[in-house]
């Protein structure tokens, strides 16, 4: 039957994750926002250990078992991931992103690398390096090259905005085998830290998620073993194969989009919870019963934000549910990222506005939520790219028709 509440085990997971966020992340939130340091907050290493222990003891990794005569329905790892992400990001988005041992490169390896590669590389903490100064949304336009020289790939180019770029142990790099062949020649390469020719040139100073390191990495004749090309070294020669090859890489984004959207849910929920706690002290509480003419401007804004939060959250849950049930979910993944991205930012900013001097002050975390929320509408595909993807799906347009 149609049901939009979470099953018991995922509910338990969310309670645990919230507890973790409240006890482990919130207490160090302001500290690392102010420090904005290169080094990994040492508390995070311990916390990551706790997470690992909690992870195996907690939810069944194969997902909730189907019940009620509905063998086709699953609530699995995708739903667990979005729920856990929201709860952790309720704590602190930057610290969540900065969690060691969980890099975006890990997902790429998981999706694209061969079993032999995964076996030989073992446990990774890999950052993902795609964006360049001249190519952001247009990821197919990257100019970093990989040239085969004997038994080694030689990488040359410059990557920016690499999350975990400073702290990670490996970097997964997008490079082209042949710039004249466009996106079909783009492959991913695993580069361990310490490889000569790869330099972390700088770490950004940012508006928000300051506890997460965002690095610029330069590749200057960086040599890596031939085996470090993830997956298949063949360059697709026809349109169909090209689409498949690039599509395979892009597909990892289908699963990560709802998870990033969940970050926005977390920061929005954090701001909403905090503003309502503050307002409750002055006796203002939401009863969900007044007619429109009876609402104060403040109540109206709060209801608006709660509604927008619910809307975004359900889109995220739907995208995750579809992924768990092996339904192609590209449209819904992008819908969820577009909606949650803009909602998270609007809500966090509005809560600062409502809270006046207190909201604007660093004495409260509200201003930090407003700074952290902005990037979620930008990274992993900007709002506008998500709208483009949704539009193409709804209108039945190819990327050459609708730019």
């Amino acid at each position: 039957m149609i049901n939009c509440e979470l099953p018991e085990d995922i509910n338990r997971l969310s309670i645990m994750a919230r507890q973790f966020a409240a006890d482990g992340l919130r207490p160090i939130s302001r500290k690392y926002d102010l420090l904005e340091q290169k080094e990994l907050p040492e508390e995070l290493t311990e916390l990551a250990e706790l997470l690992k222990i909690g992870g195996t003891a907690g939810a069944d990794s194969s997902g909730s078992k189907p019940a009620n005569g509905d063998p086709g329905n699953r609530n699995g790892s995708n739903m667990q991931a979005v729920v856990a992400t929201e709860c952790m990001c309720w704590g602190d988005v930057g610290l969540f992103v900065a969690m060691p041992n969980i890099g975006l490169g890990n997902a790429a390896v998981e999706a694209v690398a061969s079993d032999a590669q995964k076996e030989s590389w073992g446990e990774l903490f890999a950052a993902m390096a795609i964006t360049e100064p001249g190519a952001g949304s247009d990821s197919a336009g990257i100019r970093t090259t990989a040239t085969l020289d004997g038994d080694e790939w030689v990488l040359n180019g410059e990557k920016i905005f690499v999350t975990d770029g400073y702290r990670c142990k490996q970097v997964v790099v997008w490079a082209s085998l042949d710039l004249s062949l466009g996106k079909s020649a783009i492959k991913s390469f695993l580069v361990p830290k310490g490889t000569p020719g790869m330099t972390v040139a700088r770490v950004e100073h940012k508006l928000g998620i300051r506890s997460s390191d965002t690095a610029q990495i330069v590749f200057d004749n960086c040599r890596i073993p031939k085996e470090n090309l993830l997956g298949n070294p063949e360059i697709a020669t026809n349109a169909e194969a090209r689409k498949k090859a690039f599509g395979g890489v892009m597909q990892t984004f289908d699963n990560t989009r709802p998870i990033v959207a969940a970050q926005a849910l977390g920061v929005a929920r954090a701001a909403l919870d905090m503003i309502q706690e503050l307002l409750a002290e002055s006796g203002i509480e939401l009863g969900y019963d007044k007619g429109y003419h009876q609402l104060s401007a403040l109540e109206n804004d709060l209801y608006e934000m709660e509604a927008e939060y619910d809307a975004a959250r359900l889109l995220v849950l739907k995208a995750a549910w579809m992924a768990d049930n092996k339904m192609p979910n590209s449209k819904y993944a992008s819908m969820s990222k577009a909606k949650a991205g803009r909602m998270g930012n609007q809500v966090a900013l509005k809560c600062v506005e409502i809270a006046g001097q207190l909201g604007y002050s660093k004495a409260s975390l509200l201003e930090k939520f407003a700074r952290d929320s902005k990037i979620i509408d930008i990274y992993e595909g900007t709002q506008q790219i998500q709208q483009l993807i949704v539009a193409r799906q709804v209108l039945g347009k190819s990327s050459s028709e609708l730019k």
Partner: protein, 371 residues
Amino acid sequence: MSELFNLNPNDDQQMMIDVLHRFAIDDIKDSARQADEDAALPDGYLQKTVDLGLNFMPIPESLGGVGAGRTYVSNVLNIEQLATGDMSMAIAALTPLAVINAVMDWGTDQQRETVANSLATDKFTPAALALMEPGLGFNIDELATSAALQEDGSYRLNGVKSMVAYGDKNECLLVFAQVRSEESAEQKVQGFIIPADLDGVNFEREDYMGLRALPLYKMTLNDVDVSATTRLGDDFDIARLHQLSKIAIAALAVGCCQSVLDYVVPYVNERVAFGEPIANRQGVAFMVADMATEIEALRLMVYRAAAQAQQGLDVSRSAYLVHRQAIKYGMKVGTDGVQLLGGHGFTREYPVEMWYRNLRALSTLDGMLIV
């Protein structure tokens, strides 16, 4: 809660969706424009809706119904499908069911039997809720219509209701009023099941921006005396009725918005300007993308509220919020729909202006239907 998150309708629900989808296309869509022009439902339309059998679902078998109980999720699915045909004609088909639902929830045994016998038949029988009152803003906590308890236990009704479907044609009306009694200062809202032709009851046809095919009336109650047996049970809960009404309104919005989206997509793909389809321009494409996103989100919020009702969970928050979203995004979709068709969208040759006018009604449909 060990139920899994699930967005799939069950087999019965899917079957009904398919039937109503077909019905909307075959029996509603093509006659909606003329009905709006005429401010009248097409001949024979209401009788056709009887074959859908919706009225029989919540009525117990002992009273001649199917005995499905209160099926909130099925109701929103059904409302959505009918509304994809036309909002006015959807509401027209569903007001008797609203009365049935309310009486199944709160009626006395006698009332349930009477309503079952008169409204679940093979002939369309008009019936409607009368909650909304005329004026600037509707505040359910301050209903002006009063029901003064008399010494003999009867009630005297006074007040004015608005947007009452079918007016004097109603077989029965469920009128909501603030009960006032000499003894108790407490004022509770109650519902009274009355025929349309009582002494002191008068109807006047109303004319609105949209919903023109739906015959709506102002109802004046002037010292209308009704017996105690017309009053719903003691457990009647106006707040609950209001919540169920909000969910129904939102379901109407989803259906109507979906027709707007389904209409504009092929339009913008075909309409050429500056050498290519306007759908190739981000300004247009993004507007369509956002419409699709908000409609999907609204649909999910409707599902959630209905599913919570089905599971006996508190729906006060979900119903309140989905209603707000429906008003906001329902109108946005309506206005974007006209915008995407440009000048053509502004004429009555195309359906979008009618959907625009109908969607504006969402903010003032309290009590029209309940899930």
